[in-house]
Amino acid sequence: MSGAGHLGRLSCAEVQDMAGEMGVGVLVGIERAAVLEHLEDCGSCRAVVEDMAELGDSLLLLGPEEEPPAGFESRLLQRAQEGGPAVARRRRRVAVSLAGLAVAALGATGLALGLAVSGGSGFQVVPASALHQVGGRKMAVAVLSDHGAAVGQAFLYSGSPSWLFMTVDSEVVHGPVTCEVETTSGATVVLGTFQVGGSYHAWGSTLAMAPDDIKTIRLVDATHRPVGSAAF
């Protein structure tokens, strides 16, 4: 994994020393990348880190309780009816078909034309002339990274429809992941949720917004912890 190399290969003692920080989710940067690299093939350290993560989450059980404001329950149920799980399920179904569409489109455009993904977190734009033949206006590519370590690639296509497609390294990211975008106006829009693991490591979604309005793409895990991002 890129980034982890700066620390070299960690020993089990070093990883287990860092397990506490990892367990409460505050180990960042190259240290986190190096630990994740070590855990890929060290079952005993993985068990310790998982233990610490469970302990870290358990601390939240000690948090204080408060009575929510009157009407909390009804307002929540209303929100759920308007845009909760039903919308998410519909988006997931759309996403499955879009993944195939995106791969096909990439084959027809970017990849067939020698599209290259550069390092760093900034998007690299494919020349408009290369997309003209499929009616696209612009294709941008970026490395999804987490504290400097690459976790995947994102492809942003401006056309009819416009879409976002991404691949995620299932060795680094596991479980359900939600893709959010932050727009240039500062709003956060949830595009959808997908599962990473096994053979599931690619996802795509059409965009209701103009791709040029997207400032940042962010992936968060099931507990809303950021696991990867790319910024314009």
Binding site: G23, V24, V26, S58, L59, L60, E73, P85, A222
Partner: protein, 200 residues
């Protein structure tokens, strides 16, 4: 046709929603079983809203965070993996992360972060006592044994998502010291939980 005895047996086979385990409740939610959404909210709303409110310090923002946490939980209910923790810790982790996200422009460091874990208040009132798990009681007992500086660093990290670097800055201590406090605190907690588990 159906005897009274049969009715009683039928009632026994179908426990009230309130008697369902957290996992069973989430399962019911995942498959869209009627009434599960309300039961799920009622079971966890005090803990979810309480955590959100104590982290963001604003009632309106806390409600928004708490509602979003429930919506996320419903969305991810079908893929919840009980091997990776309990429903309560999972839901509270979602809440914590959303609250941290909402506070991206971080407030000043709370003067008394340890008050979040309620060391002086073991019972947490009648409702709290009713739902407080055995694990939480053991954990509260264990964290009370930590040196205050380790406990403070641990709460800042676990609840507020502060990294060692941020704790170093806010507490005016070297980075290495901040890291040691978090790491040593967690190691001691883990050992204490193992000891308590084997001793009980």
């Amino acid at each position: 046709m159906v005897s009274t005895g049969g009715d009683v047996a039928l009632m026994r086979r179908r426990p009230a929603v309130d008697d369902l385990s957290d996992e069973a409740l989430l399962n019911g939610l995942a498959v869209g079983e009627a009434g599960m959404d309300v039961a799920f909210i009622r079971r966890f709303q005090r803990r979810v809203y309480g955590l959100a409110f104590n982290l963001v310090g604003d009632a309106a923002l806390a409600e928004d965070v708490a509602q979003e946490a429930f919506l996320r939980a419903w969305r991810h209910a079908p893929v919840f993996d009980s091997r990776r923790g309990s429903v309560a810790t999972w839901l509270l982790a979602i809440t914590r992360n959303l609250a941290i996200d909402a506070l991206r422009l971080r407030r000043a460091v709370p003067t008394d972060p340890e008050s979040l874990v309620g060391l002086e208040d073991d019972a947490q009132g009648p409702d709290g006592a009713a739902v407080a798990s055995d694990a939480a009681t053991r954990l509260r007992r264990a964290i009370a044994t930590l040196p205050p500086d380790q406990r403070r660093a641990l709460v800042l990290a676990a609840f507020y998502g502060r990294t060692a670097d941020e704790i170093s800055t806010s507490e005016g201590i070297p980075l290495g010291t901040a890291k040691t406090r978090i790491r040593a605190g967690m190691q001691k907690l883990r050992l204490a939980m193992i000891d308590q588990g084997s001793g009980s």
